[in-house]
Amino acid sequence: MIKNVKRLSSFEVENLKKCFSSTSFEQSFILTYEGQIPTIGFVLLRGTIELLKKNKIVMVIPPGFLLGAHQLIKNEVTEFSYRLVSPSEILVLQKSTILQILQDRGSEIYSIFSH
């Protein structure tokens, strides 16, 4: 399994939806470039994400995976570029909200980000 790509249970996804809003993308788009720190963490709700390394597809990610959040919190660069390949819907995880969740500790979704 690729590091920092985490499969979430449907229960976890539903809990994340209570704290974060989702956004639709109509076109293919690179969410994060290889070697950069993601500006947002995200969970794919609909569509497909390709993980690319040196422009080669390493993995195709279906809905239900958490991506980028770990690197966002730790200010770490990603090993891959994350590219949306079809009209997609993603749950946008903003750094401020994640930091707040980690600080408050009491939230149901704390454990998603604390590991």
Partner: protein, 236 residues
């Protein structure tokens, strides 16, 4: 760590021109904790026209072109941005998708702050809002001037005005003249003044023949700014 220190807001070389210029140590450290710093290579897209905004981009170093693709599929440069400028602010506050794309013209260091943080920072520190308003006002002024020039000025005047404006922002004084320290293709220049690249090439040749400018590859030197001001029909 050296890289962390380099990207610390306190040491940012564009701090004085940025929206956080009035913040004290403690507030700046909040910005530091929340920001994401990335280096975009030449040609990398920072955001795409039509996509939703998630936050604000503050340019630390480098140069960016902001472009818009029209219904005919043609791309035109709306504006250029450099250290101290912000990107994505209009879409962020209007809650609209990006009306233009931003692309790095050279290796560029950009700090990203998410929307939630920016809104809270503005509520806590109104000086940030004032600085953003100031930047927006300047951009609106430039957009109005550009729009008026399209109708009121000919290509020669528009090109002269653009060269003066680029000289003001990116100019570096050198023995041979004011070096415009940004590499733009003829097509990019043409898209900025609303003409064909062939017309730009012809007009640049005229300026060279008249001794107003000189060229070294893609780099343009302004040799006679007074003469350019006359051609541009403006006074700075």
């Amino acid at each position: 760590m050296a890289s962390e220190s380099k990207h610390n807001c306190e040491n940012c070389i564009s701090k004085a021109k940025g929206i956080f210029c009035h913040l004290e140590h403690e507030e700046l450290s909040e910005v530091n904790n929340h920001k994401v710093v990335n280096i975009y290579k030449k040609g990398q897209v920072i955001f795409h026209q039509g996509n939703p905004p998630f936050g604000l981009y503050c340019i630390a170093t480098g140069k960016i072109k902001v472009t818009k693709v029209g219904n005919d599929g043609k791309e035109s440069i709306v504006r250029l941005a450099t250290g101290g400028d912000v990107l994505g602010h209009r879409s962020l506050f209007s809650s609209e998708n990006y009306s233009a794309s931003a692309t790095a013209l050279e290796d560029t260091t950009i700090c990203f702050l998410d929307k939630k943080f920016i809104i809270k920072a503005i509520q806590d520190q109104p000086s940030i809002a004032l600085n953003i308003i100031q930047k927006m006002s300047r951009e609106m002024g430039m957009a109005e001037a550009k729009s008026a020039a399209m109708f009121q000025k000919n290509v020669r005047e528009r090109l002269a005005e653009l060269l003066l404006s680029l000289g003001k922002t990116y100019g570096v004084k050198e023995a041979q003249g004011l070096k415009i320290n940004i590499k733009l293709t003829r097509e990019e220049i043409a898209s900025m003044i609303g003409t064909a690249s062939e017309t730009v090439i012809r007009t640049i040749s005229e300026f060279k023949d008249e001794g107003i400018i000189k060229q070294d590859g893609k780099i343009i030197y302004l040799l006679d700014e007074e003469a350019l001001l006359d051609v541009a029909n403006i006074s700075f």
